[in-house]
Amino acid sequence: MGDPVLLVAGLGRCGTSLVMQMLDAAGVPVAGQSPAYEDIPVSVRFVDLDWLDRQRGRAVKWIDPVNAKIVNPEDWRYRVIFLSRDAQQQALSQMKLLGLSGDRALRRIWRAKIERDRTRALRIVDRLCGAHGTLHLRFEDLITHPVSSADRIARFCDAHGFPFGNTFCAAGKVLPRHPACAPDMRIDLALMRCADARAVAQ
């Protein structure tokens, strides 16, 4: 049995790129190029298994697990970081990316699809590696508490054979939000500033 593949999974616009950037910053080998990590051979329906075979020991972005199927041969091991986000916000973000914002009926359909797909995606991920091999993260926690989120990712990665470097480097990939949007983030930013100061002092 070879090295596992670390899949960063979720539906579009829920922070998968951000987690890939955090892993990259912490020295975990990743597939694809920053900032989006989507220059990889994934069709609408399947992730290329031969290509995936060459990514053992790396983190791979896996958007839309419901449609982009991953085959699971017996001798394969996967670990998954699964991201979720408030469905309404996610629908708005996906529609904005595609230049489709503004239509309420479409937003309702879009949101319903996200909720449906997320339930199915969670079932797929559960079948793929079970509860012990999955880390569940919320996008909202990621952006408001970057340090503690990076710490959770670090502990998960370390436990599953993906050595994770500096947690603060990883957390630094989260861009500061205005306090009005994310009041709790001030605490995490203060922690990061302390870590920077310590690094400079050393």
Binding site: G12, V44, L97, L98, G102, D103
Partner: protein
Amino acid sequence: MRVPISEILQGVSAESGVPLEDLLGRCRLQGLVRARQVAYLLAREQGYSLPRIGRALGGRDHTTVLQGVQGVARAAANDPELFRLIEVVRARVTGDTDARAGALRRLQAAPPEMLARVADVLEARNG
């Protein structure tokens, strides 16, 4: 969420080879001015106000920024190199090009009623 102007400046500097201090400086050599104007344009695309962009780029007047945005947009239409520079920096700072391509690809797998509604919205938008 808006990309910070500092990141746009770093992106322009890295892709155009113009040092950051020259982007913020007063030198009016054509190559430097063009790179500066690319930064104006991308910052404007992110929704920053003209005075805000002017302040961030070395305290320039908002009319200078406006003229720069219009000038570089016109020039890019006839200059493939400049057009490519804008595209590359835009992709670098927003990361949206790959993400958008992926989102469009995934939209193919959407249920028919959703695709029909998307088509209606696009049709209404395009008149």
